[in-house]
Symmetry: C2
Subunit: 225 residues, 2 copies
């Protein structure tokens, strides 16, 4: 379903080249539940950004259902980003000037639902992450873990087939983190694909397959028995 | 050394009052090593912001060395914030348009050192957190955990007496997190005061005293034997 072949990601900083991903080969089938671990700076967010079409490889190929994404039409790319993929960012990336409800509502705006239905769906997503009573708050009127949960609610509100989650429990206490993992596990049970970056073993243990990165390459790739 | 007496922090959101801290009593002596834990939204960052003079109580008193901070002169308050306290923010708060070295150099700018000495000290702080080869990168050219480490280097560069750290290892793998805890433990051994917010028990175990917050109040306050 998703295939990276010999992908390089090279950033230029001044005169220097930073190799964030190196000759990266990676295949993911529909419905898999994958955890990606590795040291700070090893390429996890870079990999997720490329998978979510938020960034492009410097070299190599990204095939989605055997189709090269670089030759997909703009309409197909937009549909992929807005409807098929839900992205939970490591630094949340909420709109600062609007409240939690509107932030969560955003992915629904291009769909066919009425404004009232959108608000109802967004409110349910906020209730699912324990923030039903915080919908009016703007991001700077929320705690760090609350902002993270708004970002999670926004990623799941469109019921996407693929969840790309970059450290979704990094700012959460263990009880709230467990509630979020219940939501993600449920999405997986419905047949969807989960790719989760985490540095916590007990979070990675929810996945069926654990991949360790080191210096922009795969160091190990193990399936659970 | 630090005393909060019957402190309330009440935010207004539209017509609603949010009680982030409620009748909060808290005493910290010089040289203590305290961990603050509690659920997402329980008031941990609010408490740290008040202790670091980045926010003011709605009611109640904050005494620093028996002096009410609200009657301190502006010069004394500035000295407290810039020289006596090092603050590691939950969301890093780096200057986006300048590189890691300049971000770390910032607290030194009001001191008496030469520009060359400031750069050398800032570079050493970046090397101490494993980022000596990333000093030219701007925040958006760094990974999440690298930005967190720049925020840590900036907080310690002035050798402050009090470190206020809001989830300093939240974006770090366990090995890098352990390296950061070594740095913080060392600062404590020199006689300084550490107040650390974390949701990880193994990080809290570095402290001598662990405080649990719930709904803006202290639920438990235990010293290690
Ligand atoms: N500027 C603000 N305006 C309104 N409410 C706020 C504001 N800042 C914080 N709050 C609310 O105050 C409560 C405490 O927030 P705080 O940031 O201290 O929590 P926290 O314990 O640090 O949580 P986390 O573990 O998620 O970082 C939260 O319920 C939050 O919604
Ligand atoms: N825009 C950029 N320009 C230059 N270098 C970059 C850029 N983005 C990332 N890097 C570098 O690429 C490497 C990989 O970054 P990435 O964000 O993928 O790491 P990560 O594994 O997510 O780390 P963390 O666990 O700290 O979040 C890092 O060394 C980083 O400094
Ligand atoms: Mg990352
Ligand atoms: Mg907080």
């Amino acid at each position: 379903m998703i295939k990276l072949e010999k992908v390089d990601k090279i950033y230029k900083v001044g005169a220097e080249d930073v190799h964030a991903l190196r000759r990266f080969d990676f295949t993911i089938d529909k419905g898999e539940y994958i955890a990606i671990m590795g040291p700070s700076g090893s390429g996890k967010s870079t990999l997720l950004n490329i998978l979510g079409l938020l960034d492009v490889p410097t070299n190599g190929v990204y095939l989605f259902n055997n189709e090269d994404v670089t030759v997909m039409s703009d309409a197909r790319l937009a549909e992929f980003r807005n409807k098929r993929v839900g992205f939970i960012f490591q630094t949340f990336n909420l709109l600062p000037r609007t409240n939690a409800l509107h932030n969560v509502e955003l992915p629904l705006i291009y769909g066919k639902k009425s404004p009232a239905a959108r608000k109802g769906i967004a409110l349910e997503a906020l209730e699912a992450v324990g923030l039903g009573d915080r919908w009016k708050h703007k991001p700077n009127e929320l705690s760090g873990g609350q902002r993270q949960r708004v970002a999670i609610a926004r990623a799941i509100v469109n019921e996407p087939e693929i969840i790309l989650a970059d450290e979704p429990t990094g700012n959460l206490d263990s009880k709230t983190g467990a509630e979020i993992m219940d939501i993600i596990d449920n999405i997986h049970r419905k047949g969807n694909t989960i790719i989760l970056v985490t540095h916590e073993d007990y979070i990675a243990d929810h996945a069926d397959r654990i991949i360790h990165l080191l210096d922009g390459q795969i160091e190990s790739d193990k399936r659970r028995e």
